[in-house]
Symmetry: none
Subunit: 320 residues, 2 copies
DNA sequence: ATGCCTCTGTAATGAACGTTACATGAGACG
DNA sequence: CGTCTCATGTAACGTTCATTACAGAGGCAT
C-alpha cells in the first residue's frame, strides 16, 4: 500500500529499526543498482587481500552460505580452526564495523531470499506465454498475490483469529476502526461490514487532529481495529498507544515486519504485502479481513440476518 | 578447520531433560515421521495453551518465519511488546530447554530449506489439516479467493487494461473516483494511489446529494473510475450515467454480472466476487486495481518518482 | 465486592559474547 | 645470521546476553 520505492527490502531492513524514512538517497542515484553488495560479493571482491586463515573463513562461509556467518564468533572460529580475533579481522577487512553488523547484513539477505520464493520465480516463467506486456503484468500480479495470500493465511493461528472474532462479535463492546493513508481503504471496508452486522461501530477518520475526540470515549471495554503497514504512520501509532493506555483491546493488521503498534496489540495479524512492484499490495490483507468478518457474522447469524433485513426495510422507505 | 558435527554444543544431554513437556502423543501419531517437528508445527500444536503475550510471539514468529526467532531474546521481545522472560517462557512451553536451543532448531530448518534449491515454502502445507474450524475457514477463504483472482485476471484483455491505463495516465484529464457502499473502500484505495502519482484526482464522496457538485465540473476530457458490484447502487448508477452524458470516459470495476453502468462505460473490468460465504469478496478487485495502478505508474515512472520525492520532502516539514 | 490464581514485567545474576591490547611466531630481506 | 614485518594466537576487558527469583497486575469465580 505505501509506496515502496525500495522494492528489494534488504536495503534498509524495514522492520527492525524503522529509524529513518528517508528515501532521498534512493531517488538521487536513479539507476537500478541500489542494493548493497552481498557479503558473498564482498568476499570475492576482497579475495586477494585475504590472509591464509582468513581464506579459510571465507571458504567456510561461502560453502555454507550464509548460515556459517550467523553463528557466534567463537563457534565460527572454532569450526574453521582459527582464533576469534581472526574472525573479527576478517569481518573488518570486508568493510564491516563489527561482527554483528556483518551478521545483520547476512540476515537481511537471507530474509529477502526467504520472503519471495514464488514472487521471484513467477515473472520469468510466463513471459513467453502471453506476448502482450500487460498480459505479463496481469499474470505476475496474480501469482504474486496468490503467493502472499497462501503464506499469510497459512501462518495465521486459528485461535488467534477466533480471539479477534470474539472481541468484534461482543456487542457490549464499542468498536473503533482506524487505518493509515493507504490502509484506510481497509478500514473503510471493515467499518462498512461491521456496521451492517452490529451497532456501536465507529470509524476514526478525517484530520488526525480530530481523532482526539474519539479518544475521549474509548475505554477498557472497547475494541480498536487498526490497520498499519509500512511505512508506519506516527499519528496512527500514537492513537493506538493512547487507546491502549486507556484499556482498549487492539486488533492489528500489519505487515510481516510488524508495526510498532504490535507492542500494544492484543491480536496481531501479519500479512505479506510485497508483489515485486513499486507498491505494496492490500489484497492479502483484504482476504484476511474478509475471513475475520465472516467469522464475526457466523458468531450470531440470526442477529446479523435480522439486522440486515431491518436495514433493507429502511432503505425501501427513503428519507426524502 | 574441520567442521564440528556436533554443532550445538549443548547436545551432551540429547533429550533426557525434556520429558516434562509432553510431546509423546504428537510424535506417535505421525507414523514414520523421523524428522523432528518444525518449530512452526510445535507452535500450532501448542497454540491453545499459549497465553495472550505468548500468542503475540507465536504470530510474529510465524509471520516472519523463521528469521524473527533468530534474533536475541531482547530484540524479539521488544518487537512484540512483551518482556524477555515471556519469550523464554514461550520457548520453554514449546518444549525447548533454552532459547538458544530453539534458535538452533530454527537454524537447522533454515539450513535444510536452503539446501534444496526448489524449496517449496514449507509452511503453507499443514495448517489446513488442523481440525480447528477457524483453520478450515482460513483455508477456504484463501482458496476461494485464489480461484477468483486466477479466473478474473485471466479473463481480462490486456489491451483493455492498457486502454484504461492510457486514460488514467493522461495528465491532461481530470480523474474522478467513485464507489458504492462496500466498494467505496476500493475507491479510497484507488484514489490515494492515483493521488500520489498525479494531480487532479478527485474523490466523489460524502452524502450522495452533494455529488451533484462534482457533476458540474465533469466534462468530456475527464475520466470517471467507478466501482459498482451487486447490489448495484442507484445513486452510483445515476452519477455515472450523467457523467457519461457529459462526455466523461468511464472505467468500471464490477462483478461478472455487470453493473448497469457497463452500458455507458468505456472500459469494463468484471471480477469474480463469490467465495461461498455470506459476503462477496473485494480481494480479486483489489488485485486488478493494483495491477492497473502499477501500469499507470509505469507509464511515466520519472514523473511519479519526482512527485513522490516531492511529497516526501513536504512531509518532512510538517504544517504545524 | 473479595480472594485466589494465572499471567506478566522488573530487577538482579552469572555466563557468554565481541572486542582490544599485547605477545609470539613465521617468513622476507639485508 | 639478525632484524624487520606481518600474520596469528593468548589473555583480559567491558558489554550484552539469557536466565532466574520475585512482586505486582489483572481476570475470574465465588
Amino acid at each position: 500500500m505505501e509506496y515502496d520505492i525500495d522494492r528489494t527490502q534488504q536495503a534498509e531492513n524495514p522492520g527492525l529499526t524503522m529509524q529513518n524514512h528517508d528515501l532521498t538517497g534512493y531517488f538521487l542515484d536513479s539507476s537500478q543498482n541500489t542494493t548493497p553488495p552481498t557479503v558473498a560479493e564482498m568476499i570475492t571482491h576482497k579475495a586477494e587481500n585475504l590472509t591464509a586463515s582468513e581464506r579459510k573463513l571465507a571458504q567456510a562461509l561461502l560453502g555454507n552460505y550464509p548460515m556459517a556467518g550467523l553463528e557466534t564468533v567463537a563457534t565460527f572460529a572454532e569450526r574453521c580452526g582459527v582464533s576469534a580475533p581472526t574472525v573479527l579481522r576478517f569481518a573488518s577487512k570486508l568493510g564491516f564495523e563489527s561482527y554483528p553488523e556483518m551478521q545483520a547484513r547476512l540476515r537481511e539477505e537471507l530474509e529477502a531470499r526467504l520472503q519471495s520464493p514464488l514472487t521471484r520465480s513467477a515473472l520469468p516463467r510466463n513471459r513467453a506465454a502471453t506476448g502482450h506486456p500487460m498480459g505479463v503484468l496481469l499474470h505476475h500480479m496474480a501469482e504474486a498475490t496468490i503467493s502472499n495470500i497462501r503464506s499469510s493465511l497459512a501462518n495465521i493461528a486459528p485461535t488467534e483469529l477466533e480471539g479477534a472474532i470474539d472481541l468484534l462479535a461482543d456487542r457490549r463492546r464499542s468498536v473503533y476502526v482506524l487505518g493509515g493513508r493507504f490502509s484506510s481503504a481497509l478500514a473503510v471496508y471493515g467499518y462498512e461490514h461491521l456496521r451492517s452486522m452490529r451497532a456501536d461501530v465507529h470509524r476514526v477518520a478525517g484530520q488526525s487532529s480530530k481523532w482526539t475526540e474519539d479518544l475521549l470515549d474509548i475505554g477498557k471495554r472497547d475494541v480498536l481495529l487498526v490497520f498499519d503497514v509500512r511505512r508506519y504512520q506516527k499519528d496512527v501509532i500514537n492513537f493506538a498507544e493512547t487507546a491502549s493506555e486507556q484499556g482498549a483491546k487492539i486488533i492489528l493488521f500489519t505487515d510481516q515486519w510488524l508495526s510498532p503498534i504490535a507492542r500494544f496489540a492484543r491480536h496481531v495479524f501479519p500479512v505479506r504485502i510485497e508483489t515485486g512492484t513499486t507498491w505494496d499490495s492490500a489484497a492479502a490483507s483484504t482476504v484476511l479481513l474478509e475471513t475475520l468478518l465472516e467469522g464475526v457474522g457466523r458468531r450470531d447469524p440470526d442477529h446479523v440476518r435480522d439486522r440486515i433485513e431491518h436495514l433493507e426495510r429502511l432503505r425501501r422507505r427513503p428519507l426524502n
